[in-house]
Amino acid sequence: MTLPEQPEASRLSILALTTPVAMGYVPLGSVFGFLFVQAGAEWWLAVLASLCVYAGAAQFMMIPMLAAGLPVGAIALATLIVNLRHVFYGLSLPERMPNQRLLRWYLIFALTDETYSLLTSLPKTVGHRQMAGIALLNQGWWLLGTLLGALIGASAKLPLAGLDFALAALFAVLTVEQWRARRDAFPIWVALLAYGIAQLLAPQQALLIAIVLSILVGLWRKPASAELSGEAKP
């Protein structure tokens, strides 16, 4: 990413970094808030969900389950399955996480798909406070969207289809930057193949299955060169 390394530019660059996330989180969050309130819940419960659960797919999934009055255990199990991929996110981050407890636990709590993508592509010069700032801003965008959707209700309908494609564009940018960091396209080919296989096996759980397949390949594959393995321990 084109991230200014001067401290005085950091506040601006954090805001700029989270802008694409905001373009996805605010509309998506408002759709969540809208649907949640439409299903009959109080508006502040939608905000509570985005405050303490903070997991997009699981939050959307729970609306019909809550409406159907399913047992708490069943909804918890569904959450476990939908969010299982998050287990693997932490694997590439431990060395970069802050030691300071509050920052560390907040970052772990707020490790959504998008925050994970931003954090893993930051240069090593980015400090822990800035990392936490990015995570906090992202959750702020999600909360703002949820609040808007819950309060505005019917008028929260998106004016144009496809604005949430900003998230896909963000992932594309981060894929390019991850590739630029190592110039090794092998993980891309593995991911393409794994996702194809996963779509054939079980379209509902394609992302999770593809991640597990990719991890298996990543574990099996030896480091490409001595230079690369030296890079792993800064």
């Binding site: 990413m1 802008t19 694409p20 373009m23 299903a39 109080e42 419960l45 303490c52 659960v53 729970m62 809550l66 409406a67 009055g69 708490v72 255990g73 918890a76 959450t79 969010n83 299982l84 998050h86 287990v87 693997f88 996110y89 932490g90 694997l91 590439s92 431990p94 996480m97 772990i108 490790l111 798909d113 994970y116 993508s117 144009l160 496809g162 949430d164 494609f165 900003a166 896909a168 564009a169 963000l170 594309a172 940018v173 894929t175 930057e177 991850q178 190592r182 993980p187 991911a191 794994a194 996702y195 992302l207 593809a210 991640i211 390949v217 990543g218 574990l219 594959r221 030896k222 792993a232």
Partner: protein, 109 residues
């Protein structure tokens, strides 16, 4: 769905499960120390997962309309080319999303 105590219980259970999943690798990292495979995954996984998230987002977007994957492929191609050339994330994302919104709303495909 007007039973607030039930909803709050469900939300707390979901919060607990989600947080536990996100915290597990960090707790496990303290127990296991630094295994070589963690470093190996750390090099391999970010690009693989980013590609998967991109594919999944494209797949999700293309299932919202009947035009096939072409609008998504065109928009992502623009983002990737711009990002490779310009290294300006905001420009790449705005251009790609703008093109995608145009295609979807004004029927270029």
């Amino acid at each position: 769905m007007s039973d607030s105590p039930y909803i709050i219980t469900v939300l707390l259970a979901m919060a607990l499960v989600t947080f536990a999943l996100r915290a597990l690798p960090f707790l496990a990292a303290q127990w296991l120390g630094r295994h070589p495979w963690v470093a190996r995954l750390g090099r391999f996984l970010p690009l693989a997962i980013m590609t998967l998230l991109l594919l999944h987002a494209m797949h999700g977007a293309s299932s919202e309309h009947a035009a096939g994957p072409w609008p998504e492929l065109a928009a992502v191609a623009v983002v990737v080319l711009l990002q490779l050339k310009s290294r300006n994330p905001l420009l790449s994302i705005l251009a790609g999303t703008g093109l995608y919104v145009l295609i979807r709303n004004f029927g270029l495909f």
